[in-house]
């Protein structure tokens, strides 16, 4: 029996994110955003290609989510004003988008209602009334204006408000965060014992391994199944206890 998989079509990054939050029946706040970060990244990664022109939005949003996630994992992380603003803006946009999207659903029902029809005005019979502004050159000019006004730039990606950031840059940012958080235990990092989902710990661990592999931080495990201590190479004075 053939299995058909329906791939949901997302309008854009906000839509995808809202879908993930609503699926879990969460309110829009940083806790919810931290909870859906992995799934958002996984979904974006699984997309064969990001919609033309929307790639920057997808990545910018991923960056903000990773920031929220990192903060939830690394309590020592302090955010810059700009970063805090990004998070507030994202929460605001999601809340606005949720209202607009719900209103759009209501409009679908409204389209089922009887529409109101136009009247037919009694028309006078056409009579030739020339207009001195209608000349060969004004018409040629108008045709040129039509050509110039045609959306010929549509195929090109639009200049984005936010700077385009790659996934690599995002990971770099996370590394910086870990480095500056000095020294901390994996339990702290992944939040073991704080009712975290298992999948989340695994993903955190994968992220950690990635950082270790890249030599950004040192991981030491004193005994089997014991806690893993993370230490940044670039900072020599531990201040975390």
């Amino acid at each position: 029996m053939p299995i058909s998989i329906k791939t949901p079509i997302y309008e854009g990054p906000l839509d995808l994110l809202l879908e993930l939050i609503e699926k879990r029946k969460l309110l829009i706040n940083d806790i919810a955003l931290a909870m859906v970060t992995e799934e958002y990244l996984a979904r974006v990664n699984s997309m064969e290609s990001l919609p033309v022109g929307e790639t920057a939005e997808f990545v910018a949003l991923a960056a903000t989510l990773l920031l929220i996630k990192s903060r939830s994992l690394l309590p020592l992380l302090t955010l810059t004003d700009e970063e805090s603003e990004d998070i507030k803006e994202l929460e605001y946009r999601l809340a606005v988008y949720q209202l607009v999207k719900n209103a759009a659903k209501e409009l679908v029902g409204q389209l089922e209602e009887p529409m109101l029809y136009e009247g037919t005005a009694q028309e006078m019979s056409p009579a030739f009334i020339p207009d001195p502004s209608v000349t060969l050159s004004s018409l040629h000019g108008a045709a040129q204006a039509l050509i110039a006004g045609f959306p010929q730039h549509l195929a090109l990606p639009k200049v984005q408000v936010k700077t385009i950031m790659s996934i690599e840059e995002m990971i770099e940012r996370l590394q910086e965060r870990v480095t500056s958080a000095l020294r901390l235990s994996f339990k702290e990092f992944a939040g073991v014992g704080k009712n975290k989902e298992r999948g989340e710990i695994i993903i955190s661990f994968l992220a950690l391994l990635e950082l270790v592999k890249q030599g950004i931080i040192k991981a030491t495990q004193e005994r089997d199944y014991g806690d893993i201590t993370l230490e940044s190479d670039s900072v020599s004075t531990p201040s975390y206890e």
């Binding site: 029809y117 009247g119 037919t120 209608v134 018409l139 108008a142 039509l146 010929q152 549509l154």
Partner: protein, 192 residues
């Protein structure tokens, strides 16, 4: 058929029909379309006439009825219509005309597509002034094609559109832009 329709409802239906179709209708036709008796129509017309609010009047010649503007306003209307059809056609008018000349004949939807805005009112003005005319569309019975009138061609002093400045080049460019845009539209099915 419609046993439970009140005379008020019939009156409203008559008003809506006359307004939407914009032509005189015989009382027999009204009775048939509304599924009521001719007595019902007569009663409803009485109610309708008593409810008229001033600007519109009901003309009844015995057999046919029609909505008209009230005589008190007719002078004002005539003046405004003249004004509407004698002032410059403006940028919208020139754009629609040039689309029809350089890329025509076109349907209203195609003119809207080229201009990116709705052209209903503009085309009505151009038609009233006999600068363009509506002809039936061989591809689709429900729509019309707009083409330049001989008066317009004479006004411009050309025998055919090919004598327009940079005709072939402009037409080709417009065709190319439309094709590129439609191609993108197909790639983004949910564009609207």
């Amino acid at each position: 058929m419609n046993e439970h329709v009140t005379v008020e409802e019939t009156s409203a239906h008559i008003e809506a029909l006359l307004f939407a179709l914009g032509r005189p209708m015989s009382k027999t036709e009204l009775a048939k379309k509304l599924g009521v008796s001719s007595e019902d129509i007569a009663a409803a017309l009485l109610i309708f006439a008593s409810r008229l609010t001033g600007g519109i009047t009901l003309v009844d010649d015995g057999a046919q009825v029609e909505l008209r503007t009230a005589p008190a306003a007719s002078l004002l209307i005539e003046q405004l219509q003249k004004e509407e059809y004698s002032r410059e056609i403006g940028r919208a008018g020139l754009e629609a005309l040039s689309a029809i000349l350089y890329r025509g004949p076109l349907t209203r939807a195609e003119i809207d597509f080229i201009r990116g805005v709705n052209s209903t009112q503009t085309l009505r003005t151009l038609t009233m002034r006999a600068l363009v005319r509506k002809v039936s569309n061989p591809k689709d019975e429900r729509s019309f094609l707009y083409e330049p009138t001989t008066e317009l061609m004479a006004l411009l002093g050309v025998r055919s559109v090919s004598e327009l400045p940079a005709y072939a080049e402009t037409r080709a460019k417009l065709e190319q832009l439309e094709a590129a845009y439609r191609a993108r539209e197909e790639r983004v099915p949910d564009a609207l």
